[in-house]
Amino acid sequence: MQDPRNIAASSAGHDGSLVDWFSTLSPEQRLAELESRISFFYSLRLTDESELSRDSRTPQ
């Protein structure tokens, strides 16, 4: 299964219209959209706290 972290990125890589659409949103709308997307992933149980616990990467 594709890592949900890469879905938006890979979609935009194939279709720049996603980038265009996102640019029309305000910073706050972009953040709200991200939160909505994360809630969706959580609802599908594509990620959970145990996964985040394993994710001890350097953030940058």
Binding site: A9, F22, P27, A32, L34, I38, E49
Partner: protein, 160 residues
Amino acid sequence: MNPSFREILELLNRHEVEYIVVGGVAAVIQGAPVTTFDLDALVRVSEDNASRLVGALEDLDARYREHASTIKPSKKDILAGGHLLLMTRAGPLDVLGFIGDSERYEDLIAVSSEVAMTIGRFRVLDLEELVRQKQATGRPKDRAVLEILEEVLRRRHDDN
């Protein structure tokens, strides 16, 4: 759980914590349609800021993420200047004393900008710097995000 980065940011602001949003959430705010599951906050490592941050983390009921920990982060932990990977009642929060090549809040404030939202004003790492940071890591998992960041940056330059 429904994560709310805005709630975390609002509480950091309410406690007057000095921080810069970096990482994936910064990329999103800067216009990159990428997905991230945690909020990365590069904080000023100082006595005063650590005290304010402890207050904010208390309000957020923050605990270390590792092994569903019940351990709360302390002021001493923050002053150590490393990375604190936390779970809060509003979602995952990474409190960072540095990013990249040991770059601290003071080093990066000049390449960040203030963003205003209904929850308040806060600083976000600039798009050019986000690109530079991702390029520097060279990690495979960053390549897809880097591609998007570079595209957003290209389009921004085209528009200007």
